[in-house]
Symmetry: C2
Subunit: 246 residues, 2 copies
């Protein structure tokens, strides 16, 4: 929930975390600390590296080019990330940033951009997706950083689809209703959620998807949802019925 | 789903809809038609007024100050809107716009800004909320326009709460899990969903909420969600389990 959103400054930082370890951060994070938050040497923030949990860290040095922080102690152990893949046809620019942040907030551990026949965005900035995944983790207190996978063609993904992972496929042609029951009845084991392009799936793609063993065709109701809304809605149902909201 | 998002130009317009009725639209919508979409006299769009369904309309006159369209025929009958109230502590600016649009996409029929002790936004632009509700309806093919209610204090709303309406209250302190069961077990009758401010509810407010007859305390999982994400997630669960996604 939103309550703790702004309770502390939480930054992702590379490095080996241990008591009294010195952790350096780059110019962007430093600028945020010094000029946005107006923090100074001696102030404390929270750091995480995606592996070693969350640590209290004291700002020991603060320059334009970067800052150095000293780890004081662990405030939270590393959480075990969900095993939940989020597959999506990339959107353009700001709405893709937004969708990536939302998927991370909802607990996706893998972000897999998928090219379909009707995908509009031709190029995908994976660096920017990674930065958005980190920003969402920082803001939402998530201690693991979602893995950003290279863009793949839907057909290639389906051809090599892991048998044990159930694909939940948001299908505007799925019969309305029954989403909770369909998710509850899906095969045990890990899940992936696929939200299609704003032009919808090509009929051949939809056929291919429906033929995948154990696939769940998820209806997201009678109204048209934008892709970023569908992402949160589908992930909410999956987490509540099959995921770590239980 | 997202598939039909851009399949047609759909505009909200005031006026009495009937075959061959002449409907005028203002400078903003006209600018959008003429300069963004580059439509011309003779082109057709879809219009809805929130009461009479969706109609095909031909652009008969297009000036800078406004345009006049002639209704050709109804393409969809008026849909019956959900009876679902969305109560929320206002966010600031862009994120409020976003949250309002998302709530409308998810089927909220009433948008009720709620002032709580920790609400950050001091002023709420109801006109802007109304414009966002219309924009979301246009983009998502929703034929009814959500009602924007004046800002109210949480205590006043609870003091006059309608007995037949179940309040689903997104509570970061609710015991994790069980959201689908809690919603399924909630009293029959209409629902309202409340998402709190980003500072969380005050303890006295939470106590007051929990004491409301038939209230459902909804857990949205172990991660911190921004308020706009919580809105979509909570509404998705409500629609799938108790609403018009069934």
């Amino acid at each position: 929930m939103a309550a703790y959103e702004f309770d502390a400054v939480r930054l992702f930082a590379e490095g080996q975390f241990a008591p009294d370890a010195e952790i350096s951060i780059g110019p962007d994070a430093t600028n945020y600390l010094a000029n946005v938050l107006r923090l100074r040497v001696g102030d404390e923030v929270l750091l995480f590296n995606g592996r070693d949990g969350e640590w209290r860290a004291r700002i020991a040095d603060l320059k334009k080019r970067g800052a150095m922080l000293v780890l004081r102690g662990q405030t939270r152990p590393q959480s075990v990330p969900c095993d939940l893949w989020y597959l999506f046809a990339p959107l353009k620019h700001a709405r893709l940033d937004y969708m990536v942040q939302k998927a991370v907030e909802m607990g996706a551990s893998v972000l897999q951009p998928v090219m379909t026949r009707r995908t509009q965005a031709s190029r995908v900035n994976l660096e920017r997706m990674h930065a958005n995944a980190i920003e969402a983790a920082e803001q939402c207190g998530i201690l693991s950083v979602a893995e950003v996978r290279p863009v793949a063609a839907l057909d290639d993904l389906l051809a090599a689809w892991p048998a044990e992972r159930t694909l939940v496929f948001c299908d505007e042609d799925a019969p309305p209703g029954g989403a909770p029951a369909a998710l509850a009845a899906a095969p045990k084991g890990p899940l992936a959620v696929l939200v299609g392009p704003e032009g919808g799936f090509d009929p051949a793609e939809r056929e291919r998807l429906a033929a995948l063993p154990g696939v769940v065709r998820l209806s997201l109701g009678p109204r048209i949802l934008r892709a970023d809304t569908a992402a949160v809605a589908a992930l909410a149902l999956v987490q509540a019925i099959r995921g770590d909201w239980r």
